[in-house]
């Protein structure tokens, strides 16, 4: 006899579905351990909450002093700088989180194939997905702002009244969380609208551009962070010596500063106006998301059942086919290059990483380029010359690091057996990645930069600049390839082995050396007769030493099956180990 239960009800289906969607933000098949990404998530929360928390602790003494000397009301105006700084940091942090969480914001092909055959209404799937996205951002906000809100509320209201303490806590928590929700909802809304309007196939083509845009906006805010924060007190409350800067009123963190002050009890009309803008912006971003989501989900579910979407444009396909032939004569290396380039251009995870790096790079170099273009026809100052020398190195650092991280991220792991059974040379994967880093991550930038140098400053300075940049790029690439053995994208990601918490000083020092010290030395030595030649010789020597050491480290890693690695994300496990 056929015996069935009470039957599925939408409310009973909602919870397990929400849990599954939520789990996707914390766990996935990318990581080697089940708790690895969850641990990383807590690190992310800690890193995001860190600056705000440290800022509050650091500034408490100054706040106490202002309170003692001028009273609580003076403090309320004085802390506008700190509050706007905190909100801009929140804006930047959630912007980057949104870009990283981009692939998890909507449904994918797998959802369509698994859920499509189950007795589920579209509205249940949409509601579960929206709630999962909402819970994720709220958990993130609570982790990021909870403790800071208590400290800020306590510090700012302690000298006034208990009511002010409560208001301070509520204002901090509400404004910073609302800003986070606004940014995340904007990302989800933009994605859902694009999906609803274009459909999955066309969306796959514009998705990377949208990611670049998001990272670009977040990075622009990061660069403008000091300017916005410094201008806030003068512009909003007529305080301080700085002149009012009306353009900051268009910056979303300042809208939410208005909300912050309004909840905290401010009587300033400008704050009430800004609070209105913040509330309206938040409502619109949420409304757009909620409206576009059902259409986007329907289109995804239908399209995934009928066939996969390809986001590769014909010219990219053509380039992917020709590049391996140009880059390598050795057939296994050529095969590894072909596989890696195809993976980078077609797999969403790899595309996200590279898009984010391009966005970051372009946003970082834009102010330098604008400063140069706006200064007129005269020779650039020494400071600007240093910045211009840093420009290609900055871009190369962004791109090469992105290629390294993209190579460490897995793609279609079950298919990696093909490399295990092929008799490829020990370091074919390493060599493939090296050539890609040179051809894609460095060469185009060096060529453009060399041509610009040649046009504006002549042949000799251009040759010197190109030589320095080439050697810097090659050295950087060898450092990134330290201990690398496996074919790119063919092993599980181990964020834990990057050991960022212990190694971050080394990364920061490396970044400063490449992006600040090296261009400064180049700009300074370019004015001397032999200085640049000495620098090029020393860089050449450094490159040879690091290349040898890097190759030796890879050989040792391959022979000892050592899974550890010096740099950001280890890729050193030999492909023969750990296949399923």
């Amino acid at each position: 006899m056929v015996d069935r239960g009470s039957g599925p009800t939408p409310s009973a289906q909602f919870r397990p579905l929400t849990e599954t969607f939520l789990a996707r933000f914390f766990e996935n098949e990318v990581t080697s351990g089940r708790t690895d990404l969850r641990t990383s998530f807590f690190w992310v929360v800690a890193v995001l909450a860190g600056p705000g928390l440290l800022g509050v602790v650091y500034r408490q003494f100054a706040w106490s002093e202002v309170t003692m000397r001028h009273g609580g009301e003076a403090l309320a105006a004085y802390v506008l700088f700190d509050k706007s700084l905190y909100l801009v940091i929140t804006f930047v942090a959630i912007g980057f989180v949104s870009a990283v969480a981009w692939p998890s914001l909507s449904l994918d092909r797998r959802d369509g194939l698994i859920l499509g055959a189950l007795p589920l209404r579209l509205r249940v799937i949409v509601a579960a997905k929206l709630v999962a996205v909402g819970v994720y951002i709220l958990v993130l906000s609570a982790g990021m702002h909870g403790l800071t809100a208590l400290l800020v509320g306590g510090a700012l209201g302690a000298g006034v009244s208990l009511d002010m303490v409560g208001r301070g806590i509520a204002a901090h928590l509400i404004a910073s969380s609302a800003l986070g929700v606004f940014v995340f909802a904007a990302a989800a809304g933009v994605q859902a609208t694009a999906l609803a309007l274009l459909g999955p196939k066309q969306f796959a083509r514009v998705s990377a551009v949208l990611q670049v845009l998001f990272v670009g906006i977040a990075t622009a805010a990061l660069i403008e962070l000091p300017a916005i924060s410094a201008a806030a007190p003068a512009t909003l409350a007529g305080l301080g010596s700085a002149a009012p800067t009306p353009w900051i009123l268009y910056a979303p963190p300042i809208w939410f500063l208005g909300l912050y002050e309004t909840v905290a009890g401010s009587q300033l009309s400008v704050m009430h106006d800004l609070a209105g803008t913040a509330t309206g912006a938040l409502a619109i971003s949420v409304l757009v998301t909620v409206t576009a989501y059902p259409i986007a989900c329907r289109r995804v579910l239908l399209a995934t059942v009928q066939g996969g979407a390809s986001g590769v444009t014909p010219w990219v396909r053509g380039a992917m086919a020709k590049l391996p032939w140009l880059l390598a004569r050795n057939l296994p290396t050529r095969a590894a290059i072909q596989f890696t380039l195809s993976t980078f251009s077609r797999v969403s995870r790899q595309r996200l990483i590279i898009s984010a790096a391009i966005g970051l790079g372009v946003t970082a170099v834009t102010p330098i380029a604008l400063a140069w273009l706006s200064q007129g026809s005269g020779p650039p100052s020494r400071r600007l010359m240093t910045a211009l020398a840093a420009l290609p190195v900055l871009l190369i650092v962004c791109l090469v690091t992105a290629l390294r991280v993209a190579a460490a991220a897995p793609a279609e792991l079950p298919a990696r057996w093909v490399f295990a059974v092929a008799p490829a040379p020990l370091l074919a994967g390493r060599e493939a990645l090296r050539r890609i880093m040179i051809a894609v991550g460095s060469l185009p930038i060096i060529v453009v930069s060399g041509v610009v140098w040649w046009i504006y400053w002549g042949v000799a300075p251009a040759i010197g600049h190109v030589a320095v940049t080439v050697l810097a790029a090659l050295t950087l690439i060898e450092i990134h390839l330290w201990g690398v053995v496996a074919i790119p994208c063919t092993r599980l990601l181990s964020p834990g082995s990057a050991n960022i918490q212990a190694r971050w000083p080394a990364y920061v020092v490396g970044l400063v050396l490449f992006c600040v010290e090296l261009p400064q030395a180049e700009a300074a030595l370019a004015r001397t007769e032999w200085g640049l030649f000495v620098m090029i010789a020393l860089l050449g020597l450094l490159y040879i030493v690091i290349r040898r050491a890097s190759i030796a480290a890879s050989v040792v890693a391959a022979r000892s099956e050592d899974t550890g690695s010096l740099l950001l994300l280890d890729l050193s496990m030999p492909p023969s180990k750990g296949f399923k």
Binding site: G5, A12, Q13, T20, R110, P119, Q306
Partner: protein
């Protein structure tokens, strides 16, 4: 009773299924055969309600399944051709998700999950994520998920793919028993021997069109051929097998 009425499915200009009509009733095992690209999986997807036909209707107990797709899907157990699962979940977690989405009461669901896992020999991998499962183990999870809610209609698309011999034999026995209990079984596969042994009726598809619909024995008799394999070769295989094999050998030796 499931009735497929003059169903056509187009993907743009490509006609994947072309005016297919057939019925499958309680107690029947309908074997669905066809070469790659003949429209088998497209038919299956329309049959389980994953996508609507471009033309024609699929009826269940006389009603179009599109009229109340949710109620229909609640009656169907489906094993897909590709083993799509949330691979970050463990086997029990995946079954719990499917069971809860199908409204199986928690206590009954837990005991069912335990029994399915024990019977399929997966109880030792209780805490392992599906990403670490072999193809056969994933297939067992998919089979469990399809049968967990005791469905009236069972749609199997290459269900024995990756299964070991003993599990494949168990599957055959389960299919026969389900049919004896008056379930509707739709079995799509490339395995001619299995289809011949378990199906009460066989449909052969070629380029989206049904070219044969009868019992395996009757098809053999009508075509005066000794096996279903010969019938299939005659009706559905367009290519000259020997010629292609020769061509392949030449390509290997180039």
């Amino acid at each position: 009773m499931i009735e497929v009425q003059d169903v056509t499915k187009r993907y743009g200009g490509l006609v994947a299924v072309n005016h297919a009509s057939f019925r499958v009733g309680p107690g029947e095992v309908l074997g669905y055969l066809g070469p790659n690209g003949s429209g088998k999986s497209t038919t299956v997807k329309m049959l389980v309600g994953l996508m609507p036909p471009s033309h024609g209707r699929v009826l269940f107990d006389g009603s179009d399944i599109q009229d109340d797709l949710i109620a229909y899907k609640a009656q169907v157990g489906y094993v897909p051709e590709e083993a799509h699962v949330y691979s970050y979940l463990t086997g029990p977690e995946y079954l719990r998700l499917v069971g809860r989405l199908r409204g199986i009461p928690p206590v009954r669901l837990e005991s069912k999950i335990d029994r399915f896992l024990a019977l399929f020999g997966l109880d030792t991998d209780y805490h392992a994520p599906l990403t670490s499962y072999s193809k056969g183990m994933r297939q067992k999870i998919l089979l469990s998920a399809a049968l967990l809610h005791n469905p009236r209609v069972v749609v199997l698309d290459e269900p024995a793919s990756g299964l070991d011999v003993s599990t494949a034999l168990v599957l055959r026995a389960v299919v026969r028993t389900l049919a004896a209990e008056q379930r509707i079984i739709f079995y799509s596969s490339h395995e001619l021997e299995t289809i011949e042994k378990i199906s009460t009726r066989v449909i052969i598809l070629r380029s989206g069109r049904i070219v044969a619909d009868d019992s395996a024995a009757r098809l053999r008799e009508l075509m005066h051929l000794p096996s279903l394999e010969d019938v299939f070769a005659q009706l559905a295989v367009k290519d000259n097998v020997d010629q292609i094999a020769d061509g392949l050998m030449a390509a290997i030796q180039m």
